[in-house]
């Protein structure tokens, strides 16, 4: 559900990194039309939820704006860890 142009309200797509739909649209228009590229420029999907909340919305937005079917929009590359791990836990050799 996109906003009507007259509204200036913010629509958060990536809540972890506080990235709005407007920002995502702007960068897609500049040619950053893959989830991985948007992740690099905007940090979308790099917060605690690792894209679980936003990836799907971003893929749909890319499909909508580029006219590509969603089946051809590549999902982001997922590296471990898939959930945040405290650096202190690793520094302690895995035991607190």
């Amino acid at each position: 559900m996109s906003t009507s142009p007259e509204t200036k309200e913010k629509i958060y797509v990536c809540r972890c990194e506080e990235i709005t739909l407007e920002e995502i649209d702007e960068w897609i228009d500049r040619g950053y039309d893959t989830v991985d590229e948007l992740k690099r420029v905007l940090r979308v999907g790099m917060g605690p939820c690792q894209g679980r909340g936003c990836q799907d919305i971003i893929m749909r937005e890319i499909a909508k704006k580029t006219g590509k079917p969603i089946t051809e929009v590549a999902p982001m590359r997922v590296r471990p860890p898939v959930k945040p791990v405290k650096i202190g836990l690793l520094a302690d050799g895995g035991e607190k």
Binding site: M1, I57, T71, V82, L89, K96
Partner: protein, 369 residues
């Protein structure tokens, strides 16, 4: 660093994972189930309603009771199955063929497995609209967990977005908990869930507005209402707009498969709209293109828990067979028969279309293609 090893690793202790564990153990395999929640059962533990489907998959039994039945079955295999709770598998490292896992925030360790069944389930899909970040906007599944697992009332008056089974069932359960349901809005021109669930809430006087969706949430510090709008055939908001008073907005617009670990294992993936997302291709034994990885349940495509349980059985059976344990001849066909009977009807036809896209006859043939 501590390292656990097992024959069969089952990631996710929900409907699919517990069924997979039981099946693999019944063939003789040693199984380790890793569950991120505080107790196993997955989404079953909050399903207070009776299941449909077929008798083989416990139709007529309430979801949380089915979790108990599966756990009893697993306990009957004594030491062959162990379950780690409050533990998240955080990654798979292909070069070492090892997993990392974290128990709470206290312990971090490695797991080595001969075969792995990824039964990680799904996550709730969200939709973007203004003020969607104000407290009071929830996934419908999250609200169901709050109420039915933790006994927390999420609000007084709710707008439900989505009339699929989750939206309808959670609406009814909210009413049972004393929450008023202001309306259910559904972007599609028809109710997606079972008629019986829709009828139940209609009888209680709740409007189900088809071709409608939320336009924006209202409120400053917490939700005080929502504006809904009519949609055209292309799902564009065309009005008329209506203001709904509510302190809770539940989003029930579907789920996406959770597949990170399958991607990390290099399994061939495909976006299949009928299965609601990016899922692993698999053969009839639920084996992926990585011969040591199997997919089962919602992680392989969004479907009902009854189908997830059968897929879990299949994955458990194939993993045990691949390890050399004798398995009953004809069991695989029997399970596929059960899947077919669960996949009858309109929703089932859509699932079958999706399955056709991701099902491969045998992996050797694909490698040479």
């Amino acid at each position: 660093m501590k390292k656990l090893s097992t024959e069969v690793l089952v990631i996710g202790g929900g409907a699919a994972g517990l069924s997979a564990a039981a099946e693999a153990a019944s063939a003789g395999a040693k199984v380790l189930v890793v569950e991120s929640d505080l107790r196993p059962g997955g989404q079953l533990i909050k399903q207070t309603h009776k299941f449909f489907g077929s008798k083989d998959e416990y139709a007529g039994t309430r979801g949380f009771k089915i979790a108990d039945i599966l756990l009893d079955e697993i306990n009957s295999f004594k030491d062959s199955v162990s379950i780690l709770q409050n533990t998240t598998v955080s990654g798979y490292y292909k070069e070492d063929d090892e997993f990392t896992a974290m128990r709470g925030e206290e312990e971090y360790f490695h797991i080595k497995a001969k075969k792995t069944i990824v039964a990680t389930g799904a996550q709730e899909r969200l939709i973007p609209f203004p003020n969607n970040d104000i407290p009071g906007v929830y996934g419908a599944g999250a609200v169901q967990t709050l109420m039915n697992v933790y006994g927390v009332l999420p609000g007084r008056r709710v707008l439900m977005v989505g009339a699929g089974n989750i939206g309808l069932i959670v609406s009814y359960q909210l009413m049972q908990a004393g929450v008023q349901v202001a309306a259910v809005v559904e972007a599609a021109p028809r109710v997606g869930g079972y008629w019986v669930h829709a009828a139940k809430i209609r009888r209680m006087g709740v409007p189900i507005l088809l071709r409608h969706s939320i336009k924006r949430a209202l409120g400053e510090k917490c939700i005080t209402g929502a504006v809904i709008t009519g949609l055209n055939e292309r799902f564009e908001p065309v009005g008329p707009e209506q203001q709904i008073n509510c302190d809770l907005i539940c989003i029930a617009v579907g789920l996406s498969p959770t597949t990170e670990l399958l991607s990390q294992a290099g399994c061939k993936m495909m976006y299949v709209p009928q299965l609601c997302g990016n899922v692993a291709q698999r053969d009839r034994g639920m084996r992926t293109s990585n011969p040591d990885f199997y997919t089962a349940g919602d992680a392989g495509g969004i479907e009902e828990a009854s189908a997830a349980m059968v897929e879990g059985r299949i994955a458990g059976l194939s993993a045990a067979a691949a390890l050399g344990y004798p398995t009953e001849h004809g069991k695989l066909d029997e399970y596929w028969g059960r899947l077919q009977s669960l996949r009858k009807g309109e929703a089932g036809a859509r699932i079958c279309q999706g399955i056709d896209c991701v099902l491969v006859k045998d992996w050797e043939g694909v490698a040479h293609a």
